[in-house]
């Protein structure tokens, strides 16, 4: 450590000797310096209008889909499956249109992932039938022989735990997710209706709530255009059994709506939008 003592003093006019002899000065310099990068890169996304261009069609999850999202998180699906399609030719061919910021705008937390041990799932909705998903969850290698995915056959055997559903919606409503008091109050009826266990009684009410065009986000009312038709909510016994709501019902309901909300049109530039509406060339 002799070198270190010898070298103390001025470095390019900076009295480094003083800095390294004072813990308060050193600590304050470090504390400020390490804060800069984060402030410059993370904070502006909240203030710049074009960071997250609004598009029509993105809605909050229904109660059943919300539970499906929770199962997706619980099982760590995001560790092997991304939900973020990049603007490359091969990704467009394989997965579809590149992902927009708004499409994950209600995901606390985001599920973009960082690794594709399995394929991207951002636009999985409607790509396979429910029957395919049921079989794939039971035994992935029975439908995709090359797959290395674990079997998830306990999902269809486990009744969905709905004790947290209401609280989940309340927590999300405290942030930017536009669940109305009405949405939250009717969570149970909506869940049963979507999973097809209520003989179809609640379907219309469910559709009225989640296929609506007026949303209040962070105190601001967003109104979709009259000509825009929201994607219909999937209503059926997702796991093939209409007698009860299982974890598999919830998970497939979630997977079948992924990437279906935005209706992509040819010739629309989804990148350069500053005013909340798609910019048309």
């Amino acid at each position: 450590m002799s070198e270190y003592k010898k070298g103390g003093g001025m470095i390019r006019g900076i009295p480094h000797d003083t800095i390294e002899q004072s813990l308060p000065i050193l600590a304050v310099f470090v504390a400020i310096l390490v804060a800069v990068g984060g402030i410059v890169e993370v904070v502006p996304s909240y203030y710049l209008d074009d960071a997250e261009p609004a598009v029509e069609g993105v809605r909050p999850y229904t109660p059943l889909e919300l539970e499906g999202y929770a199962i997706y998180r619980r099982e760590g699906c995001f560790l092997c499956h991304s939900q973020m399609i990049r603007p490359f030719r091969d990704e467009k061919e394989r997965y579809g249109h590149f992902s927009l910021a708004a499409e994950s705008g209600f995901d606390h937390n985001y599920q973009w992932g960082s690794k594709r041990t399995g394929p991207d799932l951002a636009r999985l909705g409607g790509k396979y039938t429910d029957a395919w998903h049921i079989q794939h969850m039971r035994a992935p290698r029975s439908v995709v022989p090359e797959s290395v995915m674990p079997n998830y056959m306990w999902l269809e055997e486990t009744a969905l735990d709905t004790s947290k559903t209401k609280r989940r919606m309340e927590v999300l409503a405290m942030m930017n997710v536009p669940y109305s008091a009405d949405d939250i109050a009717n969570w149970e009826a909506d869940m049963k209706a979507q999973a097809g266990v209520d003989d179809g009684d609640g379907e219309d009410a469910l559709r009225t709530r989640y296929e609506r065009k007026t949303w209040e986000i962070d105190g601001e009312v967003t109104q979709w255009t009259d000509s825009f038709e929201p994607t219909p909510i999937n209503v059926r016994a997702f796991d093939g059994d209409a007698t009860d709501v299982t974890e598999l019902d919830a998970l497939i309901a979630y997977l079948q709506m992924l990437g279906k909300s935005v209706h992509f049109e040819e010739g629309v530039d989804y990148y350069h939008d500053k005013f909340g509406q798609p910019y048309r060339k």
């Binding site: 990068g37 890169e41 209600f106 606390h108 290395v148 079997n151 609280r167 989940r168």
Partner: protein, 476 residues
């Protein structure tokens, strides 16, 4: 100018505890890692048991190696070097013990909750909010005790190794707290305070700075004490250490954005992240060169001292992975490498090559100094070195191969403009690489077992009085 007063009696008990627990964490973490690597090679090993399925077990591996092994090394080596560099006994000892107890309890909670599927689902920050609080409290306790010890130093200057620790302590507090902000639904579930692009940016501001400060600044601090001490040579350049300390501290913070290239994050942020990633080569290599050149005049030790070998090879891996990192942080390379096993290989060249090897070197150094003894078996230390190195190289090369192959298969078009391969084709092509990777991981695990055995034998030899004490030169 600088006056060195009498050294105080150091507290080695606290360091000994951290080192033993750290080695155990290394054994457990690499065992779980080997297991999940084997699950990817042979999915039948998931055994249809939810708790050990890949998706639930993978965070157990990452948390145990990063926060368990890495955390206890940083706590242990930090408390060891802060005492040696200040000539003061650790201050606020009860607070330091509290930090260590909380960290250990948090790790045990992690082992229970993650297999049960209780997770925040943020990479490298999976522990639920109440475990987060425990870890944050632990970190703050450690920080206060550490800074109080520096304040009680017996000389005027603060040693460069401690600067790096200070930058780690502050930055990790920032990123851990802000990334962990969440609203609990109950004890088993919480929603992140951020959504979508905001969550993504915050997550990788955390993710890359956990690497940049927890696994780099902290470990560089460790390097700055243990390499010169073990080689018995002064640090090569004081000026270089000043320069690369401030530049590394400033630049690392910016580069997290390169984990999000070509995503829905605004392009300017990504370009900024890519530019800073390239610039980061210089401070990184500043540290590597300063460590390597410290060996000037002591290179002969590499022939005789396997602990020195661990440290020097660690620096070589550090230089390599901090070249690879900026390369992968540029957009055009990232377009190929992102989402592939190349990323996993890169992380492990840093983790197995740099972090584990400098940590293992520091641990052997501390064990021999604290117990005043040679290791029970020098041959086993040597064997540990070769087994670990072979395992690390197998792992990294397997992941390079699979990563680049994956990236190329995904983007291959035939002459008619159709995709050549299905995704499943690329999965099938990964099998031999995954098997090789599991083998490499198993070797690293074996290395840790050898280390644990050798350490326990050493301590029992000390207790039995059958050990060989260190020479006066080594003790100095």
């Amino acid at each position: 100018m600088s006056s060195v007063a009498e050294k105080e009696q150091y507290n080695y008990d606290i360091v000994k505890f951290c080192v033993i627990v750290g080695i155990l964490m290394g054994v457990i973490g690499t065992a779980v890692g080997t297991w999940i690597a084997s699950e990817l090679a042979f999915p039948i090993l998931n055994f249809d048991i939810a708790e050990i399925s890949f998706g639930r077990l993978r965070p157990v591996h990452t948390n145990t190696v990063i926060f368990g092994f890495g955390g206890f090394l940083l706590y242990g080596a930090g408390l060891y070097m802060v005492q040696h560099c200040t000539h003061a006994r650790v201050r606020l000892e009860k607070l330091a013990w509290t930090a260590i107890a909380l960290w250990l309890i948090a790790m045990i909670c992690v082992w229970v909750t993650l297999p049960l599927g209780i997770t925040q689902a943020k990479e490298y920050h999976e522990a639920e909010w109440w475990i987060d609080l425990m870890m944050a409290a632990s970190w703050v306790c450690f920080t206060i005790s550490f800074l109080a010890t520096i304040a009680a130093r017996k000389m005027s200057h603060i040693y460069v190794g401690l600067w790096f620790f200070i930058s780690m302590l502050f930055m990790v507090t920032y990123i851990f707290v802000f990334n962990g902000l969440a609203i609990p639904v109950d004890m088993t579930f919480s929603y992140s305070a951020y959504s979508g692009i905001h969550d993504a940016m915050t997550q990788w501001w955390w993710g890359h700075n956990a690497v940049g400060f927890f696994l780099t600044a902290g470990f560089i601090g460790v390097m700055y004490y243990f390499v010169p001490k073990h080689a018995n040579r002064p640090i090569y350049s004081y000026r270089l250490s000043v320069l690369h300390f401030w530049s590394l501290t400033f630049l690392y913070v910016w580069v997290g954005a390169h984990h999000l290239h070509y995503t829905a994050i605004p392009d300017w942020t990504l370009s900024l992240g890519a530019g800073m990633s390239i610039a980061l080569i210089f401070p990184s290599w500043g540290g590597m060169i300063n460590g390597m050149m410290t060996m000037s005049g002591a290179w002969d030790k590499l022939r005789t001292d396997p602990v020195m070998r661990f440290m020097v090879v660690a620096l070589a891996f550090y230089g390599m992975s901090t070249f690879e990192g900026p390369l992968m942080g540029t957009k055009s390379v990232n377009a190929l490498s992102h989402y592939t096993d190349w990323t996993v290989g890169h992380v492990h060249s840093g983790a197995l090559g740099w972090n584990a090897m400098i940590a293992i070197g520091a641990m052997y150094h501390m064990i021999t100094r604290m117990w005043n003894t040679e290791m029970w078996s020098a041959k086993l230390v040597n064997m540990h070195f070769w087994v670990h190195l072979t395992g690390a190289v197998l792992y990294i090369t397997a992941m390079w191969g699979s990563g680049v192959l994956q990236g190329l298969m995904w983007r291959a078009f035939d002459e008619y403009g159709n995709l050549v391969y299905t995704f499943a084709d690329s999965v099938a092509a990964m099998h031999p690489f995954y098997a090789l990777r599991a083998t490499g991981g198993f070797l690293v695990f074996c290395g840790f077992c050898i280390m644990l055995y050798n350490t326990l034998k050493t301590i029992s030899a000390v207790k039995a009085g059958t050990n060989v004490t260190l020479t006066a030169e080594a003790r100095a």
